[in-house]
């Protein structure tokens, strides 16, 4: 059985490679040698003259992305060359209400995949990364939104009441100790992924932490490694390892129950599951689910209010979570 799982993981990872070039962001895109330049050379005869500065890049799906400017100097991007001619023709015709709709609709499709080009001089910020404007691809958005709504209800109708009740009964120090215990069991995952990322000092820290917390911390219930020895937990997982190896997140997936993830991070979770001690201690899947359930309730009891705050702050919580997740993971891979 294990061999089949490993085989599936490698197959998915291999497929992910196809997403690497695309998801790696603007830095990876290179212009083709026969593009239209601003001095007017043509690649194809059917591109109208009213388009200024058309740039053609290839995406790794075998298609092309066309960047062009309209009369006002606004920059747009699209996969569909035909739509450019249509748009410019419409703009030339004087832009009635109907045309605006067509333009807006096309813009929505174009924007959802590609980064926003901000031409304003005021925005030039030398300290900002080039990939700061990268957005994650989300073709499964309708499905993801359904799962997001499901998770939202699951939290308010089930998880929050249970965790609040549990939190009212069990004092906080005890719950923190339980959390420490489970975190300590995550040692193999963090240790192996540190090694895979060649972060040897971090791997050493993790090893010391495990020894100190298990022995002095009485089986991991306490965390003297952080408080007394100043050794911080090195949060590494297989998803980050794949990111360090060059895999982009590829697509956003919002799993029901599990929450926000991506193709890469889901492969990461599957890979990490082999290093989870609970998988070996627990003989049946009911046992595994029960333990995971308890761990979730315990962790949630310590964090009630966080999700509500996020919903309060956002106009569109789904997008807020998606973007925060993507930025957070990108930052962790970089570190």
């Amino acid at each position: 059985m294990k061999r089949i799982f490993i085989g599936i993981i490698f197959a998915i990872a291999y497929l992910c490679q196809g997403f690497v070039l695309f998801a790696a962001g603007p830095a990876e895109i290179r212009p083709l040698s026969d593009t239209i330049t601003s001095n007017g050379e043509r690649v194809r005869a059917d591109i109208p003259e009213s388009i200024q500065g058309l740039e053609v890049f290839s995406d790794s799906f075998g298609g092309y992305i066309y960047y062009y400017k309209d009369r006002d100097g606004n920059r747009f991007a699209t996969n569909d060359l035909a739509s450019i001619s249509e748009r410019i023709v419409l703009a030339d015709a004087g832009g009635s209400e109907q045309n605006e709709d067509v333009l807006e609709r096309n813009e929505v499709e174009a924007d959802s995949r590609l980064f926003e080009a901000e031409e304003d001089e005021d925005y030039y910020d030398p300290l900002e990364d080039e990939d700061a404007y990268e957005t994650v691809s989300d073709p499964l958005e309708p499905l993801n939104r359904v799962f997001f709504y499901f998770n939202d209800k699951l939290y308010f109708w089930f998880l929050k009441p249970v965790a609040s009740g549990y939190g009212a009964v069990v004092p906080k120090p005890a719950r923190v100790s339980v959390k420490n215990f489970f975190k300590n069991l995550g040692f193999p995952i963090r240790f192996v992924n540190c090694l895979l990322q060649a972060k040897f000092e971090s791997a050493g820290d993790e090893f010391s932490r495990f020894m100190v917390n298990t022995i002095i911390g009485l089986g991991g219930f306490f965390d003297p490694a952080t408080s007394n020895f100043g050794l911080k937990r090195q949060e590494e997982d297989f998803g980050q390892t794949l990111g360090v190896y060059g895999f982009g997140p590829a697509l956003y997936i919002n799993w029901p129950i599990l929450g926000p993830s991506s193709i890469r991070d889901t492969v990461g979770l599957a890979g990490d599951s082999f290093l989870d001690p609970m998988g070996y201690i627990c003989s049946s899947s009911e046992c595994n689910m029960a333990v995971t359930g308890y761990k979730t309730v315990n962790n949630t009891s310590l964090r009630i209010g966080d999700y509500e705050d996020l919903k309060d702050a956002a106009l569109d919580p789904y997008l807020a979570v998606r973007d925060a997740y993507f930025q957070y993971r990108r930052n962790k891979v970089k570190k």
């Binding site: 807006e104 304003d120 030039y124 030398p126 300290l127 956002a314 807020a320």
Partner: protein, 221 residues
Amino acid sequence: MKFSNSIYPEPLNLIGGHMRLKYTGIFIASVVLVLLTVFHAAAGEPTDRIRKTTDKLIEIVTNAEFAEPEKKKERDKAVRAAVDEIFDWEAFSQRALGRHWKKLEADDKIEFIKIFGELLEHTYMDKTSQYSGEKIEYLEEEIDGKYGVVKAMVITKDKKEVAVDYRIQNKSGEWFVYDLNVEGVSLVKNYRIQFNSIIMKSSFDELKKRLYAKVEENQKE
């Protein structure tokens, strides 16, 4: 950005011949001097400004006088006044709208800054009552011309460390914060994605309506 054909910076183009050499020398010397100050990454003026404001905020929040519920309005006003000193609401709103900002009329812009500010006020500043002894450690400061970043670490009571970066911009001599990066998640970008989606699917007026509705909903709680 302007790209000049000459290898000399703009002003020196106007000077001819041997004078250019002399002024180049002075220019290089002054550049070196500026670089020396810039690379001095320890606490500089921006860090001090931010530190003063956060200290002031902590003082307001922990002040026993303001603790009573009747005094909440005064405390909120004091908090807002302190934040106004260091936070550039206009730059934040401008970046949150991205390329849609240019298309707005002046009164639309003012209205947007106001309502967006109220949303942020409620969701972040009203939560000051939840302050429980967090400490802020200022790590380093990087400046490149008009822009910079002050890297800090918030240490909670449970010894948890959260990395917070303040992105700063120099406007007429004073440094202002225009973005916050919490563990790599930029506040401006998070809002920009949401606003862009709403504006693209409907319109700016719809965004304004939703902002007003959200602020009203929050105030009811």
